[in-house]
Amino acid sequence: MPTVPANIKRGSAELAILALLARGPLHGYEIARRIESETQGVLRFDVASLYPLLYRMEKRGWVKGYWEEVGGRKRRYYRLAPEGKKKLAPLRRQWGAFFQALDRLAGVADA
């Protein structure tokens, strides 16, 4: 059973972004909008929380940002980088283990 390191407990945001970008490239606003709509508002990003995180993930090589002109507007899109692809599976496992552990302890799934 994989354990959940302390940094992973704080890193729900990283998993959310990697999982979303695994489906295809998105720009920052779309990332925030999709996360909010797909979690029905439970997870929300604003400018202050999203972009510093995206930049850090880019620095670590997990995502790759690039400019693209769409509909006459230049947007910075992000796509999953190979290093990010490698990160995603272990992160999913760790979070799965974390939720299972919480569920066993506190019956989270039935709440």
Binding site: R10, H27, Y29, A48, S49, P52, Y55, R56, K59
Partner: protein, 225 residues
Amino acid sequence: MPDWHALLRARLGPLRLSPEGEAEVIAELAAHFEDDYRDREEAGEPARQAVHSTLAQVRDWKRLRHDLQSSKEDSMNQRVRALWLPGLFACFFCFSLLAMMIRAGLQPRFIWLAPAMGVAFYIPWFGALILVGALAGWWSRRAGGAVRERLQAALLPSLAMTILFTTLFFVALVFERHHPLGWMLVAWLVMLLAWAVLPGVGLLLGALPFLGSAPESRHAPAAQG
């Protein structure tokens, strides 16, 4: 449509980034604000109110400026922190340790490959290199280094020795007249083995525990609930 670039610049102030880096950040954030503003307008918010609501999502502009700067710092700074600082530390620590051990009277073990070709091995030093590799790997990971950077930082002393002995080999090729090429080649390979490969194994062993897990994301925020 409000000038989001100007509004952002006025609130964020100058960013401690390269001019291109700053322009990129402002352009990206301005596009985000513009989308947000459009959505609010489409949802029926009056223009003035929509501008206010859009800007209000940033509660602390100073904090945002700081977070943007630290997360967007150019990759050269990041490389210095994640590779060169821990790597140079490893080199310094590695060779200082050897100097101290020799000064303290540590005797090498010699392996004689030929009457005139002996290689000195400082066995306790190899053991200490595990600690040096571990420190360099840990430091690089703490600085957010990718696996490759952690590995490079830990192995930098071996790399330095490889470069040194290879340079000496080529210098010897030019100036050395007393020994045949085959002898010099063997000497070079033996020196590499003793002073680069074997120390590299020790350094690698130390760094191994820090290669498998993610860089520490001390600043990674959890998504807002």
